[in-house]
Amino acid sequence: MGQLFHSVLLIEEKCRGCTRCIKNCPTEAIRVRAGKARINAERCTDCGECIRICDNHAKTAITDSLSRLKEFEHTIALPAPALYSQFGREVDRRRVLAALMDMGFDDVFEVAYGADIATFLTTEYLKKQGAKAPMISAACPAVVRLIQVRFPALIDYLIPVDSPMACSGKLAKEMKAAELRIPKENIGAFFITPCPAKVTWVREANKLGSFPVDGAISISDVYGEIVKRLPEISPSHPELKASPVGVGWGRSGGERIAAGISKSLVVDGIHNVIDVLEQLEMGKLQDIEFVEAQACTGGCVGGALTVINPFIGRMNLEALVDKSETRPKLRDELTEDLNLEERLGEFTIKPDIVAVPAFRLDQDVSRAITKAEMIEKVVSELPGLDCGSCGSPNCRALAEDIVQGLAVDTDCILKLREEIEILAEQLLEMAKKSPPALKEDSKEDSAFSKPGE
């Protein structure tokens, strides 16, 4: 495996080297060096916090462009439910889908329907599993990555069910390949994504093996094109398969409603998620059965690649949920037509989710302990202002960087000032010293008598 791919990226010329992003990164993955932010690939979870916080818009996300459609014989757009939330309260899903097709896709497959499938798979999994402890949804890739990096003890509690995106890609390709009698490899499925973490997931999954989604195009990139087409376009797409519940996955709380588990905890916003995961790791909240955790405030409608305000997006999506037609036969369709009960194994996250020890100080435990001790010592000597001027997010992080040889203590401007003060005092002391040739009644005088005495 080569260098870890990350969607979140810095635009060098826009970065002014301020400390906003380093201080807001939930995994302390960013440092400012030589006036520019640097992202540590191992620690980054692609949550998008730095994209949101940067006033200079120096953080961006690598996504796929529409030009990639050319690579495939047949293309399918997989729009995230959050996409619908971007176009007001009265939007017609069929028009949004038609606009996507007009932009060059041969087909569309609603990820909201994939969400219906993921709901089914999740409830089946939890039924089989039995309620042994709070189980955590793995639908938000930034949360999964956060758990890998910061809460490895919770990996076993992730529900290893494919995300709505992956479910959609798999089914969409299967159906089209059969219908058109072409190999699945000739079909390109592109997720229309609200967040960079999904882009990373798609890229990494493709690196590790075959994955049913080939690329991810950002909502912000297609937004203008869709808005332009909406007034004119006729709702060409035939029947809509996704249920209102599936559409509702686009905002936080949607999964809980879908899974229908009363003892559920819904948390959104990365810092809130961390707080809840801390408690889960400490053995709290054991009476909860299901945890829906989303890195973005408001859920996917608040993704860093969306256009409108997350709360307005939420309102729009809820209006859409209310007016979407129910699908009373959905369960039969999933169990009988798609035979999902027999195919649970196929819709499991592969490869297994494993811990990423991005915070480890040393491979060797004894050496790591020594380093940790040094960190405590260095931290006690730093001012504790957590100002970030050194380029590390706080004094403790600077202490870690110093012990790891990535920084020196005079990177701290207060430390530097102290040293300068000492040096200045020494200079003053030295400046007061005059050579004997200039000094009056110096000790040495006694040995030499003045002329004429």
């Binding site: 910061r150 490895p152 003890a153 990996i155 801390e278 408690q279 790791e281 400490m282 053995g283 709290k284 811990a355 020890p357 915070f359 480890r360 100080l361 040393d362 491979q363 435990v365 004894s366 790591a368 302990i369 020594t370 380093k371 940790a372 001790e373 960190i375 405590e376 870690e400």
Partner: protein, 142 residues
């Protein structure tokens, strides 16, 4: 290495801080996730015991290559019947503490469950001392 945290009785806002900092150190040292979780739980319960029952105290963590030792020493009312306090569901926490969702009588039992050795000594009217040991799993191949 030794970490030490002062804990104030009734300071629910800061509660959990010592355990969270301990977990951070364990993650850096590269202690395996499951052991780190056990240490986190024991440290949290030790911290909460002081917050709920005592006036003030200290939680200390000794991290050694082969084991982690958690100390909790407090100035507080002490425990009159330690065997009883070790039983699941037994608690002397007041009604207002229970209403806050604490004091379910799981503190000491949880500490016992997640540690390899647990020693509780107490003097009524003066305070309680707890020492819990969690062994690290032997390294593979050695």
């Amino acid at each position: 290495m030794r970490l030490e945290y002062h804990v104030s009785g009734r300071d629910f806002q800061a509660a959990g801080g010592a355990a969270a900092k301990t977990k951070r150190a364990l993650r850096q040292i590269g202690i395996d996730a499951e052991t780190a979780r056990r240490v986190g739980i024991v440290a949290y319960e030790a911290e909460m015991n002081i917050v709920i029952h005592a006036y003030r105290g200290t939680v200390g963590i000794d991290i050694l290559p082969e084991r982690v030792i958690i100390y909790a020493d407090d100035e507080g009312p002490g425990i009159s019947d330690i065997a009883l306090a070790m039983q699941v569901g037994y608690s002397t926490a007041s009604e207002d503490i229970r209403e806050m969702g604490f004091g379910a009588g799981l503190g000491l039992p949880n500490m016992k469950r997640y540690s390899d050795e647990l020693k509780v000594t107490s003097q009524v009217g003066s305070g309680t001392s707890i020492r819990a040991v969690i062994n690290l799993p032997a390294k593979e191949g050695s």
